[in-house]
Amino acid sequence: MSARSYEFDRPRGLEARAPPESRGLARDEVRFLVTDDGGSTHHRFRELPDLLAPGDLLVVNASATLPASLPVRGDAGEFLLNVSTQYGDAVWLAEPRFGVGSPGPVPLDPAAPLSSGAVQFHPIGPFPGIERLWFFRADGSVPAAMTERGRPIRYGYVDEAYPLAAYQTVFSRVPGSAEMPSAGRPFSARVLDALRDRGVGVAEVLLHTGVSSLESEAGGAELPPVYPEPFDVPRETAERIRATREARHRVIAVGTTVLRALETAWDGCRVAPRSGFTRLVLGPGRPVRSVDGLVTGFHDPRTSHLALLFGLAGEERVRTAYSEAVERRYLWHEFGDSHLLWRPGAG
């Protein structure tokens, strides 16, 4: 499907420019749109436990955010290298950018490595179909460079630099994501307590996110290709999902990352334990089978994320919900508001 199929009108100014905490809200006090068979209703996120039923299972991403944006020096001067995904011991996919608000492409030459402190990044070549992303061979420890010099990846719509803690969720346990798996951000200790009291389960998967380079995604006639990301659906989680569905309770993915992991682990009739790298693209041509609902943020027009929502709940339901979200001025992006989208018949 062409990118135009995923167009909608989102006025400027609906990006969350700062974490809710700096807007005087607790994390779980962001707004919460709930879309089911009856339409959409408006809530605060901390009401989530009351909106679920005993026996329901939330599946969350335990990946923690890395300080993946490194200052580098190269022939093109001083700029940023946003490190996306580790492929092997020394091979990384990364996005060179002129700055937080200025994407590349930064000209690169295989003979001219970039240096960040003690680490040298040797350009190998661009990712096929995504010119802004390059493979690099790193000489030196990239995790150490991140610890010493890295900042959380940030784009131009976020007003200032926030500490790494602002980019972690209560589920962050295993470092590995270039960007926060942000659907988990509104969860808080008191929400988790209330979920437990309500009899709602929480199970983990891992998917280490790569860079999203949001401003570059919307542009071409086709949706951009996706690049592979590492994931792990452990046996225990696959087992709990199976038990939940057998008991006719509902499974809710917290984030598109979780949904991608679960759909990659779908063996034709159930979620199986599986790990590796996924390049699965979900959408109307590859509908969602593993879950009944999705907690997620609000996604931009012309993106693969929006295609995924269409694949879960159908285009009409998503478009109606998004019109309402725009009208009521819900906030977009990683520090924004939250959305629970049920697939037809589930909510």
Binding site: G88, L93, H122, G125, F135, S275, G276
Partner: protein, 249 residues
């Protein structure tokens, strides 16, 4: 006066790649050079091989050209002799393949000479290279990658000889994976999927194949595969363009 002994440099990884000058081989060669491998690249035509080698040298490693046909013993002898200077071999990619006559004939019209040639290049030569390079591969606990095809499983009209040879190569790969486990050599088969290459064009002469992706579509897969622990991947048959790459547990 003591003479300081020369500091041994870091051990560089080494690879042999056949069918290196065009299509998929060219993509893999560029990645290996970029990842810092020293390379022996093999192809029949000197000019495109020299051009590929020149490109690969920009990454700073050693690139040795061997011009010849992999089904020719002399070519393989030269490859083995060239690897002798290295302490061992980390990677052998058997990519050189023979499609057969173009346009592809149905099996009833296939000459036995053509069938023989397809099997010599696609089955016997990769196996012979593994036999000859096994000692060097064992020294580095290396990886053998045999490039397969979906024709190995397809039964597509016209693709009988090529498909049968790749099916045979798949079984050679799986058997070698078991037989070489004790020697620490890993063996995988890789089906790169449909691609816009000279070989694919030869299979469909005069037809428009521009809907197929260029072979660089498989680059992320190779980057992934080369980054995996060998024990995790040996014996597997991978689809480079599939949605999921894993150990298949």
């Amino acid at each position: 006066m003591t003479v300081p002994s020369p500091e041994p440099g870091p051990v560089r990884r080494t690879a042999v790649l056949t069918g290196a000058s065009r299509g998929l081989g060219r993509v893999v060669a560029g990645l290996l050079a970029g990842e810092g491998y020293d390379l022996i690249v093999v192809a029949r035509e000197p000019a495109p091989l020299a051009e590929l080698a020149q490109h690969a040298r920009r990454f700073g490693g050693e690139v040795v050209e061997v011009v010849g046909d992999v089904s020719d013993r002399r070519t393989r002898n030269e490859v083995r002799a060239r690897t002798g200077r290295w302490g061992g071999l980390d990677l052998l990619v058997n990519n050189a393949s023979e499609l057969g006559p173009s346009p592809l004939p149905p099996l009833l019209q296939l000459s036995m000479d053509s069938l023989d040639r397809v099997f010599r290049v696609n089955v016997a030569a990769p196996l012979a290279l593994v036999q000859e390079l096994a000692p060097a591969l064992a020294r580095r606990r290396g990886l053998v990658v045999n490039v397969s095809s979906d024709a190995a499983r397809g039964g597509y009209p016209g693709w009988g000889a090529y498909g049968a040879s790749k099916a045979a190569l798949d079984l050679v790969s799986l058997t070698l994976a078991h037989e070489l486990e004790a020697a620490g050599i890993a063996v995988v088969a890789v089906d790169p999927g449909d691609m816009r290459t000279a070989m694919h064009q030869a299979a469909y002469p005069g037809q428009d194949i521009s809907d197929r992706p260029l072979p660089d579509v498989t680059l992320p897969f190779w980057a992934w595969l080369l980054g995996r622990p060998h024990a995790e991947v040996t014996g597997q048959r991978y689809l480079a363009q599939s949605d999921h790459w894993g150990a298949g547990r």
